[in-house]
């Protein structure tokens, strides 16, 4: 099995996680979307040099992992996959911002290094929250939630179709690469000369396939409106989830809890 096929199966695995029936999965999708958004906004709003104050925020993803029955290893792998993008955003901070921010023992820590680590922390938090949303809510439920939140229909449909057609594209890529590797056994990967025609072919085949799926949808009365069966009613549990986490996020944002805990514990000595 080649690498792409492996990744592909992992991606599909994510879809299956979303089909579970845990406490978190049963929550109203709209509530989950709003809470996730709120979480990301709060995480992003911390000051540039914040490190310690961010740590309590990890309670939220931990809570979802625990109650949502999500395997941590799979989640971490996905988070790492997006890491390169963030590394490039923050990698120059330690060089650009060399003013000493604090001392650890006699070692001077620059502000740039702190902000770099802070960016990494925020990234881990927001990406894992988003992944957890996807792993605990099916894509069509997210679509439904977004349209209930008055996101324009065209955007919601774009998201749903993109998600559906990513699968189509990857399947075609997989087949093409497999056919290539069977007939080029001594080559490691696809040479650049072959790439051109391969990608062209792939585009045509994917377009064809997408066309057929679209026709199948039209034949069953698709008219641009996404209808799904489950209609969620907001229950007390959903409201409680939203309120408790909102209060928690605001609290963590306003009060530096680790700092405060430390002071309380060490208060007698300083």
């Amino acid at each position: 099995m080649n690498k792409i096929e492996h990744r592909w199966l992992e991606l599909r695995h994510f879809d299956e996680l979303a089909a579970q029936d845990s406490l978190i999965h049963q929550l109203h999708p709209g509530v989950k979307v709003v809470t996730t958004l709120l979480f990301i906004v709060m995480v992003a709003s911390f000051s540039k040099y914040e490190l310690v104050g961010l740590f309590p925020m990890f309670i939220y993803p931990a809570f979802l992992i625990g109650l949502g029955n999500i395997p941590v290893a799979i989640l971490l792998k996905r988070v790492l996959l997006t890491l390169p993008f963030v590394l490039f955003i923050g990698i120059f901070n330690p060089f650009l911002d060399q003013a000493t921010y604090a001392y650890i023992g006699s070692f001077a820590v620059s502000g740039g290094l702190i902000s770099f680590i802070s960016i990494l922390l925020r990234f881990t938090l927001s990406v894992s929250a988003t992944l957890l949303l996807v792993a605990t809510t099916s894509m069509d439920a997210i679509g439904l939630a977004l349209s209930k939140l008055r996101v324009p229909r065209i955007i919601v449909i774009q998201i749903l179709f993109m998600y559906r057609y990513i699968y189509v594209l990857i399947e075609e890529v997989m087949k093409t690469i497999r056919a290539h590797s069977l007939r080029a056994p001594y080559r490691n990967g696809v040479g650049f000369k072959v790439w051109g025609s391969l990608v062209g072919l792939l585009l045509l085949r994917t377009l064809d396939r997408a066309q057929r799926i679209y026709q199948a949808m039209m034949c069953r009365g698709f008219d641009g409106q996404v209808r799904i069966m489950r209609s969620w009613k907001i229950r007390t549990g959903d409201i409680a989830f939203l309120v408790v986490w909102t209060v928690f996020f605001v609290l963590v944002r306003l009060v530096n809890i680790p700092h405060w805990l430390g002071r309380m514990l060490l208060g007698g000595f300083s």
């Binding site: 979303a18 069509d140 026709q215 034949c219 069953r220 009365g221 008219d223 209808r227 069966m229």
Partner: protein
């Protein structure tokens, strides 16, 4: 229901790349009839089916399905009464679970949730796939996928069933089950296939296509006994007729 006649008059179709696919097709299919559409690869079978489902619009000629001529305005009606099962089940199944997939059509018809649920259950029971209801479609076997894709169409309660190569890629048992299922239906059935034994089992009437034209149209047994006709259209006598002339 009794007026669900399908009528094609001089239907011609030219693909945008100027390939002529259909060349003056005329025929009439009555309510409840099971018709096999046979012919060589590229004879125009799939193109013809696409016309009946309103996916393609003829370049010339007219098609009527039931009370409606097939055109842009009547498409919703036509699609309501014609259910098309695609050649590749993976094209037909696009929702995250079997339930969602079978419910897709009825929901688009605007039915209330209880009715949708009832129809989904009924359709899945008919094809014998009720136990798969919460499975993701891409994880099913070929035979299961075929069964579910038939259910996705049945749940819309169509009057006409159109199928493109329904037995392709199925193991012998799944194929036999499919044949029995197709035989049990009361719908008007139009089945494009290379599986002539299936045609012999399910369809009393056969239309032979070659190069976009109707070469022959008549009782299945009669057509499959006409060896010169079969040879001309790249076909072969069904296996079970080869030893025992009927």
């Amino acid at each position: 229901m009794s007026h669900h006649i399908i009528e094609l008059k001089d239907v011609e179709y030219v693909y945008p790349d100027q390939t002529a696919a259909l060349n003056g097709i005329s025929c009439r299919i009555l309510h409840g009839e099971a018709v096999a559409l046979v012919g060589a690869n590229g004879a125009g079978k799939s193109t013809l089916l696409s016309h009946l489902a309103g996916i393609f619009v003829p370049s010339k000629g007219t098609i009527r399905v039931g009370d409606y001529p097939v055109n842009k305005q009547t498409l919703p009606h036509v699609r309501r009464s014609v259910g098309m099962v695609f050649q590749n089940a993976d094209d037909q199944l696009f929702m995250p679970t079997v339930f969602d997939d079978v419910a897709f059509g009825p929901l688009n018809l605007g039915l209330p949730p209880e009715e949708v649920e009832k129809r989904v259950m009924e359709a899945l029971e008919i094809v014998g796939a009720a136990s798969l209801i919460h499975r993701p479609p891409y994880k099913l076997s070929g035979g299961q996928k075929r069964a579910v894709s038939i259910a996705t169409v049945l749940s819309m309660l169509p009057d006409v069933l159109i199928m493109d190569e329904p037995s392709a890629g199925l193991d012998p048992l799944a194929r036999r089950k499919l044949i029995n299922l197709l035989k049990s239906f009361k719908h008007t059935r139009i089945i494009a296939t290379h599986d002539l034994d299936l045609a012999l089992d399910v369809c009393e009437r056969t239309i032979v296509l070659a190069e976009g034209k109707i070469l022959a149209d008549g009782p299945t047994v009669q057509i499959f006994n006409d060896e010169s006709l079969l040879a001309k259209s790249s076909l072969e006598k069904p296996l079970r007729m080869q030893g025992f002339p009927t």
